[in-house]
Amino acid sequence: MVLDRKATLSLRALALGYLIILLLIPLLLIFFRTFEDGVAAFWAQVTTPASIAAIQLSLTIVAIAVPLNVIFGIVTALALARGRFPGRGIVQAIVDLPFAVSPVIVGVSLILLWGTGGWLGGLAGLGIQVIFSLPGMVLATIFVTLPFVVREVEPVLHEIGDEQEQAAATLGASRMQTFWRITLPAIRWGLVYGVVLTVARALGEFGALIVVSGAVSGESQTLTLLVHSRYIDDHNVFGAYAASTVLMAFAIVTLLLMTTLNRRRELE
């Protein structure tokens, strides 16, 4: 298709305008409101005990959920890319389930399984509190972020093929040696990309958490839940903006990380 210069320019302007109005302006507005009254006001809002606890909780959940999903993701991607087992198609579909199911439903289903009266609800009697506590929030986060590592790593495994691994085997490398020295370095960019996406998604999760957490301030309130509670319950609009900005700062850091890593991947 050949477009004249004018048509090309107007198409570009249209796409750009779409992005600006739908994505950039709303986020910039929050930013603007946050620092409207100076950095000190912002700082006061993000250093309240509730806010600090929320930041800590969000990071704790990330610190537990992400490594688990990395291990699971690599194992699953290897099985899907290298294995020839029955039910492969079903596993493929199950991995994508979190993309298809709304996080709210994830939260409700977790309560059905782990809550009092659920199949595994008896654990509460043994003193292991899952729902309305950290384990439940981690479970919900793992659920919604599960596909990212698998979906980033699997195509890389397909692309590099298994000849390097076979070559390593003929040279005497054990399975573990082959994994650490050949497979892992070969998939590292896909893995890093998957991890960054997992972190971003984990930090931003809201729907499943609000169902399973109980959202007790200072205890089971993540950053996203804090934004929601300040805005809706406390009518502390400014506090909500400030917490949002902290969340966005995390997101921007991961985004920048992703872009620079992507550039390095292209250079290689």
């Binding site: 390097q164 070559a167 085997a169």
Partner: protein, 338 residues
């Protein structure tokens, strides 16, 4: 020495190897030659432990290795597409086998440098594979395979992904390397010229079976069947006999009998001249003569001549379906290239 004893392998409904037996003598450079889909790569991968046979036994130096994993077979394997470790330097690639065996650093260093010298990559040690040409990459892969001092070296279409000029150079180089290193080598190829120019023994495969094993000259001069005859070189059919085009004698008179034919075309290819002829029954025959002979006979389009087969070669009689099996046709390089 490699011994393959009645090895069979099926992939679903497809038979890749049908009770194949083969011996690769100690120190030899043997070629497994055949068209794509003949089972030669599968046989090589089974010897290397990368596939398991459904039946049969593999022995290396007399030891049954059929169920031994590739790590402990004492083999070196070279892949068509190099299988270079892309994230490692050339030096680390070559050192890999020694590194995973936890050899002392000094020994690894010495052995790696020695091998890089042998394969002519001494100046490329710190480069990455993507900074090398295809030929250099394959030489690196060979050095990597040789570093662990394998009992046998297995090469799967090692030059299949290279262009013709580099391929010819590497053949020559491999031949010399083999004289230097003297490791028992089995090379898979679909290129008869490659097999003839490198190997001291050739096993010709077709349809999951080995058709014939022998020296290059032996296979060319005394092929066991029309397939081997056709795969190792051009053949023409004279009546019910198969003849190499250069073994067709042309007479300009009928004194000695022979098959009558008419000259269709005389093609000068330098020293060699190809004469295209048509027999009285309409069959076409191609004969290969020297320029001198053609000049002496004064052959020209339309001449009537009489054809004989030279007594020097003994090709099998053309079977009823000889026409179909004689010419396997040129094969596209790299059957697994996709």
């Amino acid at each position: 020495m490699i011994t393959v004893d009645t090895v069979s392998k099926r992939f679903g409904e497809y038979t890749a190897l049908d009770a194949v037996s083969l011996e690769v003598p100690e120190g030899s450079l043997t070629a497994l030659l055949g068209p794509s889909g003949s089972g030669k790569s599968t046989l090589l991968r089974i010897i290397g432990g990368l596939e398991l046979p459904d039946a049969g036994v593999i022995r290396i130096d007399g030891e049954d290795v059929t169920k031994v994993p590739p790590q402990r077979r004492g083999i070196g394997f070279v892949f068509q597409h190099y299988a270079a470790f892309r994230h490692m330097t050339v030096r680390d690639n070559v050192a890999f086998g020694l590194t995973v065996r936890k050899q002392p650093k000094a020994r690894i260093e010495a052995r790696t440098s020695e091998l890089l010298g042998i394969v002519g990559l001494a100046g490329y040690a710190e480069r990455y594979p993507n900074q090398l040409s295809g030929g250099q990459r394959q030489r690196m892969a060979l050095a990597r395979a040789l570093a662990v001092e394998p009992r046998v070296l297995l090469l799967d279409e090692p030059f299949g992904a290279l262009d013709a000029k580099v391929r010819a150079e590497l053949r020559e180089w491999l031949r010399r390397l083999h004289e230097e290193v003297e490791v028992t080598t089995l090379l898979v190829t679909h290129d008869q010229e490659e097999a003839m120019s490198i190997a001291d023994r050739i096993a010709v495969m077709d349809n999951a079976r080995i058709e014939q094993v022998g020296g290059p000259r032996e296979l060319y001069d005394r092929p066991a069947n029309p397939f081997v005859a056709g795969f190792l070189g051009a053949v023409s059919q004279l009546g019910d006999r198969l003849v190499r085009p250069h073994d067709i004698l042309i007479e300009t008179d009928a004194l000695d009998g022979g098959l009558e034919a008419q000259v269709q075309r005389v093609v000068h290819l330098g020293f060699e001249v190809r004469v295209e002829l048509m027999l009285t029954d309409g069959a076409e025959v191609s004969a290969q003569l020297t320029r001198q002979t053609v000049d002496e006979l004064e052959l020209a389009h339309g001449d009537i001549v009489w054809l004989h087969a030279a007594p020097t070669t003994v090709l099998p009689d053309a079977g009823p379906d000889a026409a179909a099996t004689v010419d396997p046709g040129p094969e596209v390089a790299g059957e697994r290239a996709a």
